[in-house]
Amino acid sequence: MTGAVLLHVALGAPLAGTVGLALVPRRIGERRAPITGVVASGVALAALLAVVVLADKDDGGRAQFVTDAAWAPAVDLRWHLGVTGLSLPFAVLTALLVFCCCLYTVRVRPEAGRLRAFIALVLLLEVGMLGTFLALDLLLFFLFFEVVLVPMWFLVAWWGDPHDRPGRTAAATTFILYTLLGSALMLVGFLVVHAHTGTFDMIELADRAGAGLSGGVQFVAALAIVGGLAVKVPVWPLHTWLPDAHAKAPTVGSVLLAGVLLKMGSYGLVRVAVPIVPDGVARLAPVLGGLAVVGIVYGALACLAQRDLKRLVAYSSVGHMGFVVLGVATLTPAGLNGSVYAGLAHGLITGLLFFLAGAIKDRHGTSDFDQLGGGLYARLPRLGALLTFGAVASLGLPGLAGFWGDLLALFGAFRPADLLDRPYFLALLAVALAGLVLTAWYLLATVRRVCQGDDTIGPSLPVLGDVTRLEAVSWGPLVALTLVLGVWPGLVLSLVDPAVQALLGGGGS
């Protein structure tokens, strides 16, 4: 009971923040916006941490703290919320990243101003993101999935790159149209499932594991659902909306886009597609795996060609999400665990990298490599050190969070589910390994190019100084968790693994 209330608090606090900011007079709103954001997202984070404490951690496979009430029986819509070992880590990650973003905004104001609207939209975004992870009803999942679109459009289109007004609007519009197409297709898939099973209940559908759905229906439904989610993830070649959206977004927007929005896609693959239409997904898995490794290599090669730090981090997401999708495509517990873990790690690390890229851009007025020159260590040593930390975490250095997810995904590919073609997945594994080498190459090259060498800008820089105290506070949790998840993967995997086993039908393969 308490847990269910806490989940509603986690959803309600940001919503109340949004509504409150929208209703108060502009003058008060502008002044109080950052603190409102910190409080609302802080309450949500605290509520979810309390849920973590209260939850039965030995039973991650079961949905806990469930609320289930009819909302609109005419369309079989239910207000059905709860957490599982799978959704809880994503929900906490979301709340943490939003909290960090709000904290960051207290000091580092977006250049375009209009703080009230900015924070209100970030909080509305949080409602949609958290709701997506907490929903246990497909239609509710879809509703929350859609909630994020409009706020993110505004964040990118208004507070995005101040030097490129048409560019940022175009990037935002590309983002929203692509994702809407994806989610509309996903809805069609959900409705196909409903037409043949008569329920939107994600728990019940997962328990049935596709029973009652013929092979053809499963294939069609899986095509729509996986295809729709693949836009969100994004899976190569549907990624074309991503680089511009990430690069043009304001720092906070990039952090949440990469950190959470992409995870909504991969979470959907694991939580919705794999358990509900297993046979359909199995037929798509080879294609999905193939596209995933193409994405890994493509992302790495694209990164090598980038001339801009923010774009580089953006493209690196394509590669990292490739590992996330490869894990799903193996349809094994190891692969799915790896997918989830890689997703969480990517959320932390890429979130941090976007914060750093934003900080560098704010300080230099550019994130172009040529204009930045080298010598970040000499100029801003702490920022340089953090960038190096983020880069090595991102390339999957053992002992940091990025390592385990990639490893598990590759392990899954080494021994894919029985019904999949093993030699094919071994080939994918080989390509993915090559991609990993390329990833290390471009990240280290970036560190060398930006951090080392002579300081070519020097004292002429309109200095904000090195990492400020507030920046340290808002980035600190990300750094700490990257370390913790790196040395203690069991912390999260003990929650995720039972959930994944349950979704794969207990035994797995």
Partner: protein, 504 residues
């Protein structure tokens, strides 16, 4: 209900009678009232319409029928049937009319050239609404045709009501000519159906058409031509071209009326005629409607992408929306007699209700703004949120709901219902077509919605004015209903429960 053949159950027809009486009262009152007493006229018309709405609420429950023939052993056929379907559409018509009357209040002022004449406006709107009310209850083809004409004739005058407006006159003429032609085609179709079946009552027509030996080319042509007339009314492609010119030339409140009340009348006409009259020809009309639906939404959306004028954009958008409304009927072929047609109907009803509300919210704000910025470009709305936050919120909500995206959640449910009807009807291609179209549509809805909140351009301050209280009330009503439909979707989605025998 009625024992004798031609007895009239006055309670059943009370909403129609009330509105008719109010229309006449307004016309007469206008003659006796002093020139500046426009408020009294609006008060009379809104009170009468509201009373009719109350009667509709009282009628909720059992189906009732009047103007019947036959009976006493023979097959009894009624021309005027009031059941849930009728009442839902009558409620939409009445509520829409109330909002339009309230919006029109700020426009009326007798004697001034750029204003609408009070008495005539109220009278014409109410007279046209009478036709829409009858259409929702009509169950024979003659009544359908007459009701459709009653909707249209006052509307021609309404479109050209603004004096000394060349555009208005041209719009009225376009509308008139197109409408006359469409009704002529429809009457021709009705004639063919009558010739093939020997009856005008829809239930008897259905019985006769159901006989396989009666399945002739004449009857088929009759079915198709009858539907053509109704397709004009809802602005379905390829019979849509009058819509943008007419809406843009008409006073904005009249465009609002056409896009909601008149369109709802057309939709209910199609539903009743195909569902009651031609169920056995579903294999003819359902695929045709499906194709028309896809063409309508696609063409409407693509054309709307290029619009820069507010009313023209809403006109094309309303064409596209007609396409979504027709989708459920396009998959009704698999079993009109069974539950599937009921499902299709409840989807149509839900969509029309949501569309009516959110479209009125949008049109309401446009009506207010266009009075101050006659150019009517969507650029006029830049920065509206700074000067008129409530209006901007209403318009923004309306546009996003038309797009079907949160925060316009009501529109999202409507889209879900329509796509669901396509999926459960086995027409996946139709569902995908709707999905793709929502993406196209979002581009223009969002562009406009974003302008509302954009910073005003230097040197061109945002529109600032006092929203007339009555207009504010109208928009507020529509917005409130939209929010209620978002939070409590069951209220509108469950209105027409498929099991309750919608066609009575």
């Amino acid at each position: 209900m009625t024992g004798t053949a031609q007895g009239v159950d006055w309670f059943t027809v009370a909403p129609t009678v009330l509105v008719t009486a109010t229309a006449l009262l307004v016309l007469v009152a206008d003659l006796w009232l002093p020139r500046r007493a426009a408020g009294v006229l609006t008060a009379i018309s809104v009170t009468g319409t509201s009373a009719a709405l109350v009667v509709v609420a009282l009628l909720w429950g059992d189906a009732r029928a009047t103007f019947c023939v036959g009976g006493d052993g023979a097959l009894e056929s009624c021309s005027y049937v009031v059941n849930q379907l009728t009442l839902v559409f009558q409620a939409v018509v009445l509520a829409g009319t109330i909002v339009v009357l309230l919006l029109a209040h700020a426009e009326i002022g007798t004697g001034e050239p750029d204003r609408l004449p009070g008495g005539e406006t109220g009278f014409l709107v109410l007279a046209s609404a009478t036709g829409a009310l009858v259409l929702a209850a009509a169950r024979d083809l003659a009544t359908v045709v007459v009701a459709l004409e009653v909707v249209s004739l006052p509307a021609f005058a309404l479109v050209g009501l603004r004096r000394r407006s060349a555009r208005g006159a041209e719009a009225a003429l376009t509308f008139f000519l197109v409408s006359v032609v469409s009704v002529a085609v429809m009457v021709y179709g009705v004639g063919l159906v009558y010739g093939a079946t020997g009856s005008l009552h829809l239930d008897r027509v259905a019985g006769a058409l159901g006989d396989p030996s009666n399945r002739t080319a004449v009857a088929t042509a009759g079915v198709v031509l009858t539907l053509v007339g109704l397709a004009f009314k809802v602005g379905a492609v390829p019979f849509h071209f009058w819509v943008p010119d007419t809406y843009a030339g008409a006073p904005v409140v009249v465009a609002a009326y056409l896009s909601v009340v008149s369109k709802a009348a057309g939709i209910v006409g199609i539903v009743v005629v195909v569902g009651q009259g031609f169920p056995s020809y579903a294999d003819v009309w359902a695929p045709a409607i499906a194709v028309v639906a896809v063409a309508t939404m696609t063409f409407g959306n693509v054309a709307a992408l290029r619009q820069r004028g507010a009313v023209r954009l809403l006109a094309w958008s309303s064409i596209a929306q007609s396409g979504y409304m027709l989708v459920p009927l396009g998959v009704a072929s698999t079993g009109v007699s069974g539950g599937r047609f009921g499902d299709a109907l409840s989807a149509v009803v839900a969509y029309v209700c949501v569309y009516a509300v959110v479209n009125l919210a949008a049109f309401g704000v446009v009506a207010v703004v266009s009075r101050h910025r006659p150019s009517g470009s969507i650029e006029d709305y830049r920065g509206l949120a700074y000067t008129e936050p409530a209006s901007a919120a209403a318009l923004g909500f309306g546009l996003l709901a038309l797009a079907g995206l949160p925060p316009g959640v009501a529109g999202l449910w409507a889209k879900v219902v329509v796509i669901d009807s396509a999926v459960s009807g086995g027409a996946g291609w139709l569902a995908v077509a709707v999905a793709v179209n929502t993406v196209i549509a979002l581009a223009y809805y969002l562009r406009w919605a974003a302008l509302l909140f954009a910073a005003p351009l230097p040197g061109r301050p945002a529109v600032s004015y006092d929203v007339p209280a009555v207009s504010g009330m109208a928009v507020g009503l529509a917005l409130a209903a939209g929010v209620v439909f978002s939070v409590l979707p069951q209220f509108v989605l469950g209105l027409a429960d498929a099991s309750s025998g919608l066609l009575g």
